[in-house]
C-alpha cells in the first residue's frame, strides 16, 4: 500500500504529460496556420469560433469521420501498427525532459519530470533514433513503390542527421560534465551555452530541423514534387497520427534547444514561475520553426545530403575539437 501510494505522484504526472501531449497538436495546428497566414498577409482560419480557434476541433472531426482506407495489397497488421509505432518515440522523449527544479507541493518534494535520468541526453538521442521504425514500417506495409521510396528517403535523412546531432551536443556534455538534463541546465547558471557553443547550437538546430522533418528539410513529405513519401497510402486518423508524432517531435526539439543551449528554466523574471519561463522559451522556438518553414524553400535531396555530411558533420567535429582545446 505504501509502495502504491509512493507511485501516485508519478502516475498523476504521467497522466498530465500524456494528456497535454495528446492535446498539444490542436493549438499547434491552429498556430501554424495562423502564422502561415500572417506571413502571407492573410487572416487564416476565421470562421469557426473566434479567429478560427475551434478550427482544430473541426479538423479533428473531419479526420475522424473520413474513410479509413487500407490498400488491398498492404500488410494489414503492420499498416495499422506503423502510426502507433511512430507515435511512441516522441512520447518516450518526454520521459527524460525536466521542466524545472524540484518543488515543494503538499509537504512532499515533487520533481518536475517523469524521470530525470542521469543519461537523459543519451536516452533522448537513442529514443529519437527509434522514430525511424514508424517510417520504415509505414513505407514497407503500404506495399507501394512510392511509399517505400519515400520511407527510404526519410530513413537516409534521419540517419544522416542523427550523427551530427549527436556530435553537436558533446560540447554541452563536456561543459556540464554530465548527461543529466537538469545538471546541464544547472551548469548554465551564469552563462547560457549558446554563448560558449554557438557552432554546437547551429549544428544541433539545423540537424534537429531535419530530424523533425520540417521545411527546409521536409523531403519525406514533399507532396508537391516527390509524392507524399512514406505516408502516401495513409488517410484519415491514421495519417493524422503521423502528423501528431511530427508535432510532438517539434515540441521535443524546442525543449531540447532551450534546455541544452538557452539555459532551460534559468534566468527568467522573478514574478514568473521557472517552468512558465521555460514554456515561454519553448514557445518562442516553436514560433521560430514555423517562421523558418514559411520563409525558405525546401532543399534538393542531394543538397540535403551535402549539408548533412559535408557541412554539419565536420562542423560538429570541429566544435568538439575546439571546445576540448579550450577546456584544457
Amino acid at each position: 500500500m505504501e509502495y502504491v501510494l509512493s507511485l501516485l505522484p508519478l502516475a498523476i504526472k504521467m497522466l498530465i504529460v500524456v494528456g497535454i501531449l495528446l492535446l498539444l497538436p490542436l493549438p499547434l495546428t491552429w498556430l501554424e496556420r495562423k502564422i502561415a497566414a500572417h506571413i502571407q498577409q492573410r487572416p487564416g482560419p476565421m470562421r469557426v469560433g473566434w479567429h478560427g480557434l475551434l478550427q482544430p476541433l473541426a479538423d479533428a472531426i473531419k479526420l475522424l469521420t473520413k474513410e479509413d482506407h487500407i490498400p488491398a495489397q498492404a500488410d494489414r497488421i503492420l499498416f495499422a501498427v506503423a502510426p502507433v509505432v511512430a507515435l511512441v518515440p516522441p512520447f518516450l522523449v518526454f520521459v527524460a525532459i525536466p521542466f524545472g527544479d524540484p518543488v515543494q507541493l503538499f509537504g512532499t518534494t515533487v520533481t518536475l519530470s517523469l524521470a530525470d535520468l542521469n543519461v537523459g541526453l543519451l536516452f533522448i538521442l537513442a529514443v529519437s533514433g527509434i522514430g525511424v521504425f514508424g517510417t520504415i514500417l509505414a513505407g514497407w506495409a503500404s506495399n507501394s513503390k512510392y511509399a517505400v521510396l519515400g520511407s527510404l528517403r526519410s530513413i537516409a535523412q534521419m540517419i544522416s542527421y542523427e550523427i551530427p546531432m549527436g556530435f553537436s551536443v558533446i560540447g554541452v556534455v563536456m561543459l556540464a560534465n554530465s548527461m543529466q538534463l537538469s545538471q546541464i541546465v544547472a551548469a548554465q547558471q551564469g552563462l547560457w551555452n549558446i554563448v560558449l557553443q554557438p557552432i554546437g547550437f547551429f549544428v544541433f538546430f539545423v540537424a534537429g530541423l531535419a530530424e523533425a522533418q520540417r521545411i527546409p528539410f521536409d523531403l519525406p513529405e514533399a507532396e508537391g514534387d516527390l509524392g507524399a513519401g512514406y505516408h502516401t497510402e495513409y488517410s484519415g486518423i491514421r495519417f493524422s497520427l503521423f502528423m501528431l508524432a511530427e508535432y510532438l517531435v517539434l515540441v521535443a526539439l524546442a525543449f531540447l534547444n532551450v534546455l541544452l543551449f538557452f539555459g532551460g528554466w534559468l534566468g527568467g523574471p522573478a514574478f514568473l514561475p521557472p517552468f512558465l519561463w521555460l514554456f515561454f522559451k519553448v514557445g518562442l522556438f516553436i514560433w521560430v520553426f514555423m517562421w523558418l518553414r514559411f520563409t525558405f524553400p525546401r532543399y534538393r535531396y542531394d543538397q540535403l545530403m551535402t549539408i548533412g555530411w559535408k557541412v554539419l558533420l565536420p562542423l560538429s567535429l570541429l566544435n568538439i575539437l575546439v571546445s576540448g582545446f579550450l577546456m584544457l
Binding site: 502564422i35 500572417h38 506571413i39 502571407q40 498577409q41 487572416p43 517562421w291 520563409t295 525558405f296
Partner: protein, 191 residues
C-alpha cells in the same frame, strides 16, 4: 541554374548566411504588417472600379422608356451570340425591343455590346455576384435589365457589407456613409 539576378556575396556574408537572414527579415515584416484579405462576403465587399464589366443593365430615358431602339447591333457584334433582340413599333412610331434576352451562361463580359450600342442603352455595371444553382435564372430579360442596379458612384473600394443569407444569398452593402477602404494602400510593397 539561372545566374541572372544572383548577388555575389562576400565570404563574410556567406558564413553568416546573409541571404537567409534577409529572407527571414522580409517574412517577419510581412507577419507584422496588416492582412490584405477581404472579409467577403460576411463583413466586406469589393466595389469594383467604374470601368469594371459586370452585370448588364439597360438605361432608360426621362419618360421611363428604354433607350434601346432594337437595332440589333449588340446581337450582331456579340462574339458568343448570347443576345436575342426582337423589335416592335410603339404607337408613337418608335422602334423598341419586344424581346431582349441575354444568356449570361454564354456571356463572356467582353463589353462589345455596350461599345456597339448607338443609343447608350445596354451597359455593363459593377455587379459581379451572378452565380446560381439554376441555369434558367441565368437568362435575363428586358425587365431584369431595367431593374438591375446602375453603376455605383464610387469604385475601387472595399465597403462594409453583410451576407443576406435569408433572401438573395448575396453580399449586400451596408447602409451608411459610402466611404470605403482603399484596398491597394494596404498592400505592403518593396521600396
Amino acid at each position: 541554374m539561372a545566374r541572372t539576378g544572383v548577388k555575389r556575396h562576400s565570404w563574410i556574408g556567406r558564413i553568416f548566411f546573409a541571404d537567409l537572414l534577409a529572407g527571414l527579415r522580409l517574412t517577419l515584416g510581412y507577419m507584422m504588417s496588416k492582412t490584405v484579405t477581404h472579409h467577403y462576403p460576411d463583413y466586406e465587399k469589393w466595389v469594383p472600379y467604374q470601368r469594371h464589366r459586370g452585370h448588364h443593365f439597360m438605361n432608360t430615358n426621362d419618360q421611363g422608356e428604354v433607350n434601346c431602339v432594337a437595332c440589333g447591333l449588340c446581337s450582331v457584334i456579340c462574339p458568343c451570340d448570347c443576345i436575342t433582340v426582337i423589335p416592335f413599333e410603339t404607337e408613337q412610331g418608335d422602334r423598341r425591343p419586344k424581346v431582349f434576352d441575354i444568356d449570361l451562361a454564354r456571356c463572356l463580359y467582353c463589353g462589345l455590346c455596350e461599345d456597339a450600342c448607338p443609343a447608350d442603352a445596354i451597359k455593363l455595371g459593377q455587379e459581379y455576384e451572378v452565380s446560381t444553382t439554376n441555369r434558367a435564372t441565368l437568362k435575363v430579360h428586358l425587365e431584369d435589365l431595367i431593374a438591375a442596379p446602375r453603376k455605383a458612384e464610387d469604385g475601387g473600394l472595399v465597403r462594409p457589407a453583410r451576407l443576406d443569407s435569408e433572401g438573395t444569398q448575396r453580399s449586400v452593402l451596408r447602409s451608411g456613409p459610402s466611404t470605403g477602404l482603399d484596398w491597394w494602400s494596404r498592400i505592403r510593397r518593396h521600396k
